[in-house]
Symmetry: C2
Subunit: 485 residues, 2 copies
Amino acid sequence: MAVKDKDLKGLTVKKAEDFSEWYTQLIQKAELIEYSPVSGCYILRPNAYHIWEKVQAYFDGLIKADGVKNCYFPLFIPESLLIKEKKHVEGFAPEVAWVDYGGDTKLGERLAVRPTSETIMYDAYAKWIRSHKDLPLRLNQWNNVVRWEFKHCTPFLRSREFLWQEGHTAFATQKEAHREMYTILDFYEKVFSELYAVPILKGRKSEAEKFAGAEITLSVESFLPNGKAIQGATSHHLGQNFAKAFDIKFVDQNQKEQYAWQNSWGISTRSIGVMILMHSDDKGLVLPPKVAITQAVIVPILFDATRDVVLKEAAAIVKKLEKKDIAVHLDDRDDYSPGWKFNEWEMKGIPLRIELGPKDIEKKQAVVVRRDTGEKKFISLDKLEMEIPTLLETMQKDLYVKALQLLKSSIVMVSTMKEAEKELLAEKLIFAPWCGTPKCEEEFKEKTGAKSLNSPFEQPLLKKDQKCFACGGKAAVWFYFGKSY
Amino acid sequence: MAVKDKDLKGLTVKKAEDFSEWYTQLIQKAELIEYSPVSGCYILRPNAYHIWEKVQAYFDGLIKADGVKNCYFPLFIPESLLIKEKKHVEGFAPEVAWVDYGGDTKLGERLAVRPTSETIMYDAYAKWIRSHKDLPLRLNQWNNVVRWEFKHCTPFLRSREFLWQEGHTAFATQKEAHREMYTILDFYEKVFSELYAVPILKGRKSEAEKFAGAEITLSVESFLPNGKAIQGATSHHLGQNFAKAFDIKFVDQNQKEQYAWQNSWGISTRSIGVMILMHSDDKGLVLPPKVAITQAVIVPILFDATRDVVLKEAAAIVKKLEKKDIAVHLDDRDDYSPGWKFNEWEMKGIPLRIELGPKDIEKKQAVVVRRDTGEKKFISLDKLEMEIPTLLETMQKDLYVKALQLLKSSIVMVSTMKEAEKELLAEKLIFAPWCGTPKCEEEFKEKTGAKSLNSPFEQPLLKKDQKCFACGGKAAVWFYFGKSY
């Protein structure tokens, strides 16, 4: 399974031909992932973890400015606590990893490795919340969770352990909780659009697809070049379901006892997989500049006679670009040819390559190559520090626009099952008037292998007696459907 | 066990009288810790987690500038992997939490919840390292680990799950590995001295106290006001022990195959406990300004007639201080008296309190009170933005100096067991010529309840036939000993 750096020889399949094998090779050859001895658990190598650090810094800034505070709750949840909210435990119990022993001692009660932290957090919230003055309570944690998936695991996209943030909040009124649920969804949209350069569809999940224990689940969904949709992050309104199960009550301003209104929300390392699948190509990874650990790599063309002058100029460029806050790397390794280096940095997705040889120096220029388009530009040395930041910004935007075009051109409005099946076969994402019932959803899923994604907040008008595209019942809402991960 | 904010009534015991009960009350009333339903696992509330975020940002900056990269390895380690290095597994097996089930399915091989990640990381290192060009490999992860302690657990100091960073590095030469081991120890010293304002003793651990599987363990040790020493962080040189167990080999520049030289090093949330125990007092927490979530709190003295003018001035002060990068909070709550607020912020350890009433405004001044000394200062309003940052710096230094005086005045050189026992009873830290043998250490431990801490790198001269203070054998090294956590 493992791929050695030294064997780096490019991808042996094309994205358009074998998406799955292309991805498996890519994440290893770009040194993002290493397989571990535990099936379904993957090693995030520095190239991958750096992307997560960028997401953490960005999203953490957004929520802290909005008043959320970070904390840390235990990894282990006693079984008796996990089962307190009935629908919640039904959703999670089948995939919980259980700890039975500490050393040689069998534990009195087995402990769940957290699949999510609602239950252990809300047990504490019940102690902390007494009065309306204790509200809102808005906490977040960055941690690892475990869901023992039995379906086919795939690095980033479906793994038994993953990293995420989970926000858990309590409010005095449902209105405040609703407002926050939308605010957080907007933050997730920003992570995708601003950092990952991935456009998303924002909307509300169906009854069947919402979070176990939630009243409302909102999601951001992306659409990949292989015709599959993928959920990016979710923001849930829990109503008072957990407050009632965990007895989270407060005395309001009129001295009346009330249950708190709650939300929970999360984005995980799965989102990195979405970004990789969206932008990368047959040469390897393509990284949006804003998440790239190295934004520009300088590859000097070295000959004995001109070696010193080229390296000196390269070092000067490094200095200039660092002053502009560009993450730049000079690849001055002796034992690799420029061509080998070009391939390696393309595989690793570095946004810009700066080639610099003795002839370039004579002409007082450098050759700058964009990773996404392959476009070559000759830029005079004294303009590099101005043009490189601009080029990076342009590339960031262009990646987004390209993905947006894919998304837009893939959405097809349909009103019958026949049309729906045809468009799904053509790898489209369908938008249809739907009844919204779990029974209809189940039948649709069985028939097509596709599922409901979400329904946008701004809805087209439904005709007065518009029928559900799938079951012919009364349509209630416009909804997105697609084959999906 | 849990303490409600509303019941905040100060600590009912004094630090000097009942250190343990004082600590238990303090960490709850200052809202650092909440007990969880899992014995030995604690909730880090935002006031505590913020301190950890400061440590993370600071230490992460140091190691990244030194060339270390962050990554993430799986939480679970298959039993067959954990037992590969014999001494290592002997050290950890008694306190491993074991996962047996995924959902209803019994696992083929049980999985350890990582107590530390040497084994799972070095399994991957063996795949990645082939040539001297792959070295050095210097990775770090920030994560949670579990050690199922059966001794008395205490929040921060000894918990079954804790947060830490673990650095794991591999080098072509032992010399490079040694150099890094000392560099990292210096970084840990900086965390303690610069952030926590806690002076430490740097040195090498004894044979009996070194890390399971290490050749050399270096540590930083602090000395607390209750006469107990506590280990703060460790930096290990693993020699080639793990490289041989995991087959981490590389081809050197002469085409010869060699085993890699390795280090591992870590600092955990235990260090937060050290800081709390060191500085805090009978009024509650005392936070060094550099780790305080709020560095200055403004408590306005509000009367109906002058309310607006006082709040307006307070808001102006907030703006001015924020411009100077001071984390300032205006406590304008109506339903608490100024006195109540003073007590609350003292309990929470906020370094500076700024009192502002109508009379102060007439005199164009504010009253500024230092948390550590209680010292009051009248500062004219137009000088606040100059003097507050200076006061915070002074306080940071003073806390360090005070703790350093305690440490210096607590070290006593002894050369006989009789002296040693006398000084340990007097809550001193002893410094003695020692033979260094595990047998002598074991006997000393049994007799006194104290243990060896470390031996400083700069050693006093040993007399030619200096005897071991404990067993009377030949002394080999000067060593620190003390009662300890």
